[in-house]
Amino acid sequence: MKKIAFIAGIALTSGLAGSASAQLVAHKDLSVTTAVAIAQTAVQTCKAQGYNVSVHVLGRSGEVLVAMRGDDTGPHTLENSMKKAWTARAQRAPSVNFANAVKTNPTAGALHLTNMVPAQGGLPIMVGEDVIGAVGVSGAPGGDKDEACAKSGIDKVAADLK
C-alpha cells in the first residue's frame, strides 16, 4: 500500500510539473454574429454591384459557420464558395494565390486534396497573424469581383477581429 501511494505521489508530481508544451492552446474564434455579418455584407455588396453571389464562412477547422445561397445564383455557386473559402483557410492566403501557383505548376499536390480549388474569391479571416477562418464568394462575373465582396465582408467586422 505504501509503495502504491509512493508511485501515485510520483505521478502526481509529474502532473503538476507538466512540460510547457502540454499547456492548452488559446484561440480566438468567430462568433455566429460576426460570421453572419461577414457573409451578409458580402452578399449585399455584390448585390449592390448587380451580382448575385453565394457565400460560405468557414471556421478554424474548415467547419461551415455560415452557408448562404444568393438569389438566382447558379447551383454550383454554393459549393464553389465553400471550396474557395476552404482553399483560403487551408493555405492561409487568398485563394487567388493558389490559382496563380497552379498556373505554373499544374501538377501541384494540393490539387489532389478535397475541396481545393484554384479560383479567386476566397480570403482568410485573420486575427493578427492567426488565421481563424475564411470567407468564399462565388457568382460574380470574375474572381476579382467575388474577392472584392469577400473583402467588404471582412472589412465590415474588422474592428472585432482582435
Binding site: G59, M68, L78
Partner: protein
Amino acid sequence: MSKIAFRIAGISLGAAVAFAVAAPADAQLLTHKDLSVAAATAIAMTAIETCKTQGYNVSAHVLGREGQIVVAIRNPAAGFATFENSMKKAYTARTTRAPSGKFAETVKGNPNAAQFFLTNFVAAQGALPIMVGQDTIGAIGISGAPGGDKDEACAQAGIDKVSAELR
C-alpha cells in the same frame, strides 16, 4: 437522305410544331414564390437571437422548396450536433409540409416507420414549414435549446419576423 426518310422527318417536324402550338393548358410553366436570401437570413437570425435572449444557443437551417440550403448557420456556442440536427428537422418539416414535431408525434410507438429509412428524416420538434398561403416554400429548423418546444418557438419567431413578406 432518302426521299422517304426526308418525308418522314418532315412529317415528324410538322407534327411536333403542331403539337407545340396546340400545347394543352397544363403544359404551362409553374409560377413559384421562393425565399430570397434576405428573407431566409432574417428568419434564421431572428430565431437564433430570440433563443439567445431566452438563454439558449442554437444553430439554424433555412431550406428552400427543394430542400436545398438557403441559409445554414452554425452557432459555435451550441453543441456541434445542433448544426446537423437543425438541417434534418427543417428537411422533415419541408417534406411533410408540417411541423417536425407533428412527425415526431406520428411515429411515436412506431420505431420502424418507413420514413426512418429515408435520408434526413428526424423525429424531433423544432422545425416549421414556411408557407405562402397553402404552398410550402421552405422550412426552418432550430436545434440547441433544452426542449424541442423551445426550438420551435424560436423558429416561429423567425417566421413571424417576415410574415408580411410571405405572400
